[in-house]
Amino acid sequence: MILAQAQTIAAPSVDVSILLPMLFMAVGGLLILTMTSIKKDIPAWFITSWAVGSCGGAIISSIVLWNQLGNDGASSTVAGAVGFDGFSVFLTVVIASAVAMASLLAHPYLEREGLEGVELHVLLLLSGTGGIVMAFSNDLIVFFLGLETLSMAVYVLAAMHRRRIQSQEAGMKYFVLGAFSSTFLLYGIALIYGATGSTNLIEIQGFLANNLLVEDGLLLGGIALLIVGLAFKVGAAPFHSWTPDVYDGAPTPVVAYMASGVKAAGFAALLRILSSTFSSVVDDWVPAIEVIAALTLIIGSLSAIVQTNVKRMLAYSSISHAGFIMLGVLAASDRGTSAALFYLFTYAFLVSGTMAALTILGGKGDNDFSFESMQGLGRRKPILAFALMIFLFAQAGIPFTSGFVAKFGVIAAAVDSENYWVAIVAVFAAVVGAFLYLKVLVSMFLQEPQDNARDVEIPGSVGVVLATAVVVTLLFGIFPGLLDGFATDALVELTTGQ
């Protein structure tokens, strides 16, 4: 009798087509790992192309899924654990693009630093898979699974530069703190389960919509711990202190991925869990996010001013960008979500572009990021300087770059939800930010090159990243409507429909 019952346990139905993007990334990574372990002399260009191809597969399948979504609407699969909606597909494109660009940057980087091998590409692909799982997750357990996949790979990636002590330190630091934050998350999930009786986002949302908790201590504690864990992942203050050290120490291509892909995945979770699932209890968590957003903006932009190292300065500026995206989260509205998505998309490209320039400028050893080393770049390398100028303008939020529209969007969302004071903090942080980027521009364009200035060359694959990022930054800056339509449609839809 018992045996018979056990046999009838039905595996949940799995709609493989929805899982295609993550399968492309995961299987692509594992296949190339297997191939290189069988055949030792696979050339580096093949590995890079394979990695980029896997990301391309994920992006193309996402486009197909997007069209399918237009016809059939949102659904979920694997017993409601994986949600299929515009939001998850949109972010898949962001994360896959981030991985592809990081791979392209890593190609000449590994060669220059004498670190040839397949590991970095594989880890990037697997980490990206984790990020996509997070974007698709409709269940806190699945979300945690994705997060750990993403993080484990990034811990190793940060320590990837074997001969650089700072890189080892970065990996270690990120691992210890990251593991610590994961425990917060897990505990938060447990408390939320305790309060609502489910880990499934759809059920949690339904439960909160239909029940009024008399004792909401468990729920509040759970949300608080969840916020701590996620704020750590996206590098928001006051859980940001790892960011400068890790960004400074980790290999520059990996930093590109951390700032674009990892951030996108972290915000995917924040938007999906906080802004959507907990939308019926906004009053409980919005004040916390408000404080976090304001702190992040202030600390990020002010600490960046005093930096003498460009890479470290950009690490702080990435903190303040996280603050801006937080504005989209705390709006807890469709406008906020699509503004945050627009931000994440455009930011992924422009931060990858910035890091592409730094990958070249860092020189052998990946550690020369002083302002002096950038002096006169406008005269020495006009094209590279022009590209970097576009990225810095975009980060500063100068009109006709994607960065302006992105900032405008999130601030609009914050004003729309009447979070005026955070919006005011944000615009002033933007002014402080502009000062930072001007500092770099002054070095590049207004100061004479130093006599011993290193001659730099732009490797082909880095050139591809730079060109793509410039095109995306200007195109969506001048014609934001092209992307805005997608971002507006890419909303979280928590539905049990198959």
């Binding site: 609009a412 004003v415 002014v431 502009a434 000062f435 001007l438 364009f445 207004l446 805005d484 339509g485």
Partner: protein
Amino acid sequence: MTNFLVAAESSAELSFPVLTSLIVVPFLGAVLVALVPKARVEAHRLIALMASVITGALSVWVLLTFDRTDGGFQFRSDDPNVWIESLGIRWDLAVDGISLFLVVLTGFLFPLAIIGVKPEHSPKSYFAWIILLEAGVMGVFMSLDLFFFFVFFEVVLVPMYFLIGTWGHGNRIYAATKFFLFTMFGSALMMIGILAIVFFHESATGIVTFDVVALAEGQNWGVDAGRWIFLSFVLAFSVKVPVFPVHTWLPDAHTEAPTAGSVILAGVMLKLGTYGFFRFGLYLFPEAATWFAPVLMILGTVGILYGAAAATVQKDLKRLVAYSSVAHLGFIVLGTFAITTESLTGSVVQMVNHGLSTGALFFLVGWMYERRHTRQIAELGGLQKAAPVFAAMFTLVMLSSIGLPGLNGFVGEFLILLGAFVANPWIASVAATGVIFAAVYLLWAYQRVFHGKAEGDNATMEDLRPNELLVLFPMIVLIIFLGVYPKPMIERIEPSIEVLVAHIDANVDGWTEPTADVLVAEESHDEGEEEEEEGESE
């Protein structure tokens, strides 16, 4: 406001998007300059010149086809392109009597700035930035969509930053950074203000739009909110104008900027702020503007006196001209917030006049610096002997700047003071002394620079070259023409001003345009002032 409907109908016949081309032509010019290889030195200048001349010609065409009897917006597309659908942002351009002459002034000054001065180095990027700047400035003057207005308002900082920072003199990096941060800081809060009124409008009507006409007609925000938001706009425009006490970036920026940069900065860029006061101050927030008007009138007057006093004591000739701008712009602010038909018309006229006369002054000072490599008044002297034509031109332009009757400067200042006197005789009386001060500092400077005994290089300074005369000639012609016969300009400006005043009248309870009646009868004088105070306190 039927006038706006009429305007929309009249523009329906238009097929060629002339206003869009005023932005696109210089923009494409900049792209083209950027694409031409560095080695082809003359090509960059030629392309920039061509683009700016075409833009100038188009702006003149707009002027000629402008319907002078119509006070509403003209050349407006019925169905503007949607730019960002979710926010209702549209590419919506138009001109009316207020912006028309600023557009023409921009189209007129840029070719001159390009002909008038050659950069000392890196001509390619210089011409690319300058022509890009023209596109941005045009955009500010013509955008009816608040988003695009803000975008252009911000984006003009970038070319100007590089123009000052790369081709400027002395302390150029400091001046450029100060200019950039001051202006960006000023406009930061305006962005929140813009968004706030858009969402207030949305919650009242359900429509998200950045259309300034719809927003101004709707007035869907409370009195208090309106006043706060108005202040955020005022801060942005005050920095740009600049209004005392946020003017401190101006002397640095003007002094360190290259000659063409100073000409454009003074000629058109300061007008972005004063124009903003009209379109996005008075028109968008009539209630708040009338409420704050006395304060702004006083600030304008302080600017007049402070600018004059500061100009008097300057040792650097270019800095002196820069401070004279602060004083002139003070008149414009005064005229704007006196809110009478005369003073508002005068302010628009004065914007154009200041562009011409101060632009010309900056050219002359720049050429003087090229020849003598100093701007210190003490090191100059007796230039009249060696360069008589130079001195004659300087005299004429200076007299226009002082506001001598018969030259253009007089018309604007007279109208402003006339209107301001009706609105508030006390403030106007104090402001009027600024005209005398202007004569003091400019004539004194003239005397020290051109008269006296020439020593050293001053005795052999080269006179104006033919190409420099060519640049000055059209400016001088306009200075005299507008001084003798301002009617064509005024009759195009006035209908729009009347529409604006009617708009304020309709939207502010208890406000009526101050009229000269209060001054006619001695007895009713006090009464009139009381009425006015009542209007203010409401």
